[in-house]
Amino acid sequence: MLLIACPYCGNRPETEFRCGGQAHIARPADPTALDDDAWSAHLFVRANPRGIHAERWCHAHGCGRWFNALRDTVSDRFLETYPVGAQPSRSIETEARA
């Protein structure tokens, strides 16, 4: 069983969680200023890395809170979880050095 560390509840089974896709996507401040290509890029175009990926997760069958996680898409290992609005302490660069 894969355990995910909810920032509020601690380690909990994966089945209680929902993945919400890529994290840290800022909505354009003025959408009307964007052309169709830029708007569709914001809506639909996502990173699909082989390696470390920042994702939004929701502890749907637990505390119900959204949070962010760094996950390695190769090993499915969760490197870190952190609250919405925060930045992870690790990055692709720090993990490459480690």
Partner: protein
């Protein structure tokens, strides 16, 4: 509000509670009697409301069988009390939280309680609940939303050394959850 003020006897989906002798598993599964439940959402609650301690660790429960409060998340509490006390308690909580943006909703008709006890009760729960229910992982006084099989439940471990659990599920899941637990307990009793 008529419905709230003049409560009539409710027909429970699992029938009236009756105590049956535990089977070979030693696990007693008993549908709880009708009870009032309130859900409270408030971001910055302060210490307490209506003598219920809000400022407590997430995923813990306080109180006794008559009145209990479980903190299910950073801003969410589930409160259980005797059915006739619901209106008075809701009014007191609302008065204590006056001035703070909060949502207090009576969900008595949505929730159904099932009480479980017996030394092997955790084994029956683990037939469908993926949590670690050992003494370290889920000690007395724990309470959390989780899953049992395909249904979402709130699992509460009552204070006290002997394992006593309350499973709270939604009304439409009640027959499924009850049947699931009974089958799991049967399996515990008839395992090698």
């Amino acid at each position: 509000m008529l419905e709230v003020r003049y409560r009539t006897a409710r027909a429970l989906p699992l029938g009236r509670p009756e105590t049956t002798a535990p089977d070979r598993s030693g696990i007693l599964i008993r549908p709880a009697d009708a009870e009032a439940r309130l859900t409270l959402r408030v971001r910055d609650p302060g210490r307490s409301a209506a003598d219920l301690l809000l400022d407590r660790p997430i995923n813990t429960v306080a109180g006794d069988e008559g009145r209990w409060i479980a903190r299910l998340g950073p801003d969410e509490w589930l409160i259980g009390t005797a059915e006739y006390e619901a209106d008075a308690l809701a009014a007191t909580i609302a008065a204590d939280l006056a001035g703070k943006a909060h949502a207090l909703v009576d969900i008595s008709h949505r929730n159904v309680g099932i009480d479980l006890s017996g030394a092997h009760a955790a084994i029956a729960l683990n037939a469908g609940c993926p949590l670690d229910l050992g003494e370290a992982g889920f000690p007395e006084g724990s309470a959390t939303r989780t899953l049992l099989g395909k249904a979402e439940i709130v699992l509460i471990r009552r204070p006290g050394p002997s394992p006593r659990y309350r499973v709270e599920c939604w009304r439409s899941f009640a027959t499924y959850v009850h049947g699931f637990l009974q089958e799991a307990a049967f399996g515990v009793g008839h395992g090698e």
